[in-house]
């Protein structure tokens, strides 16, 4: 067994530098790598490019990095729910590349699985396809999209073992598995880190080969954006 375990978030983040490109898992605030984000904020790293489906909210998630102007560029599919983001984007302080959500997921998966590019129908005929190659297959038009290149991927899982194997929970899975192995170094933080051998090999969502560093996360807030409930009759 090849151990991926590191002592803490500080050791896990070794090597991050200004100007790097990071992938961050999560959908909204669900399944985001809270520990990595906190460490990025306190590291004062700057000029970073973030590949993340969303940009957090004003006072949580990637919103924290935005407020400190640490982010140079965001690559996302949906950035509502964040006023500071909208302000920085409309004023031109922040570079933004909006990408269809399925394309975003697949650009990660392509990087993970060694595909340089793929054809997708998403965005054909829209400004997303401007400057990109388009092509017909079986009477339908597709856009050529290239795999992402990133220095670090920060993901959050529910359970993990020392070998780097990961299991996600519910919809906190989202982009996290797609980003594993899609960057030079994948850092996984988990709610529960167990010794190798404790997870069923048949139930691993992401094999450890896609993860370079894993650590036991702490103090998860797991904030809910839209608490919707129904009455008990």
């Amino acid at each position: 067994m090849i151990s991926k375990k590191v002592a803490d978030v500080k050791e896990a983040m070794k090597g991050i530098q200004d100007g790097m490109t990071f992938m961050l898992g999560g959908f909204g605030l669900c399944g985001i790598p809270e520990n990595a984000i906190t460490e990025l904020v306190s590291s004062n790293i700057k000029d970073i490019t973030c590949i993340s489906n969303n940009a957090g909210v004003d006072d949580f998630g990637l919103g924290l990095l935005l407020h400190k102007h640490q982010i140079k560029k965001m690559i996302s599919s949906y950035v509502g729910e964040n006023e500071e983001f909208e302000r920085q984007m409309l004023s031109g302080e922040l570079e933004v590349e909006l990408t269809p959500q399925g394309t975003l997921a697949e650009k990660c998966r392509a990087a993970q699985a060694g595909f340089p590019a793929f054809y997708t129908p998403a965005g054909y005929g829209t400004e997303v396809a401007e400057g990109k190659e388009t092509r017909e297959f079986n009477g339908k038009m597709y856009v050529l999209e290239e795999a992402f290149k990133a220095d670090f991927a920060f993901v959050k899982a529910w359970k993990g073992d020392e070998a780097g194997n990961l299991i996600f929970k519910g919809t906190a899975r989202n982009f996290n598995p797609c980003m594993c192995g899609a960057a030079t170094i994948t850092v996984a933080e988990v709610e529960e880190l167990v010794p190798a051998g404790e997870l069923d090999p048949n139930q691993i969502h992401i094999p450890g080969i896609f993860v370079q560093r894993i650590f036991q996360g702490e103090n998860y807030e797991k904030r809910i954006e839209q608490r919707t409930v129904r009455p008990r009759n």
Binding site: V79, G80, P121, G125, A172, R173
Partner: protein, 217 residues
């Protein structure tokens, strides 16, 4: 004239037994409340869940179980969770039978714009571009006119497009409309709404073919 729930109620009639359905945010979300309970339907949410159920009882919310609108949800028997790439595989691969989403504008050729007002509102397309580019059965749920009273059913969209020639049906507060090669075909009028009122509110080519029935809900 219909209210938002009325629009959702009418659209619910388009949902057939055995359909996998993706519901967008806003009016589309309400559709789930009106689907007949003698048919079997599964709701997919692009953030990675199939088989969504109602909202949880208070105190049973789980931050790790949400829909694409970031609302806490529950799951039903037979549900499954999966990653975003798999989720869009379902969508792109045409395994989802029906997509219902909102729009800011629809053109008479089926183009849709719903993600950006240049210089003003730029929230992003989320999964909408993948959905409209892939699905074969796309119903738009929206008001017939915008807040300024201008038609949202146009000859040509003025806003940046989300997808081209993809919308098959539109249900508004005034009418049910099919997008045909020749333009918007009026299928049904909302209760109490006249053909003339619909014509008045539609900028694009409106095809009125014979008697247009009032919709039943």
């Amino acid at each position: 004239m219909l209210d938002k729930n009325g629009i959702a109620k009418r659209i619910a009639k388009e949902v057939k037994d055995g359909y996998y359905v993706n519901l967008g945010i806003g009016i589309p979300t309400l559709v789930a409340n009106f689907v007949r309970d003698d048919i079997n339907v599964e709701f997919q949410s692009e953030n990675g869940v199939l088989g969504m159920g109602p909202f949880p009882f208070e105190g049973e919310e789980d931050a790790d179980i949400i829909n694409a609108g970031k609302q806490t949800i529950t799951t039903l028997n037979g549900a499954s969770f999966f990653d975003s790439a798999t989720s869009f595989g379902m969508i792109r691969g045409k395994h989802v039978d029906l997509t219902i989403l909102g729009a800011m504008e629809v053109s008479e050729t089926g183009d849709i714009a719903n993600w950006k007002i240049p210089g003003k509102m730029v929230k992003g397309m989320g999964g909408a571009m993948d959905l409209v580019a892939s699905a074969e059965n796309i119903i738009v749920a929206m008001m017939h006119t915008n807040r300024a009273g201008e038609s949202k059913l146009l000859k040509k969209c003025s806003l940046p497009l989300t997808g081209v020639g993809c919308v098959t049906k539109i249900v508004t507060n005034l009418a049910v409309i099919e997008v045909t090669p020749k333009g918007f075909k009026l299928l049904e009028r909302a209760p109490g709404v006249s053909v003339d009122e619909i014509k008045e509110a539609t900028e694009g080519t409106l095809i009125v073919d014979g008697e247009v029935p009032e919709m039943t809900l």
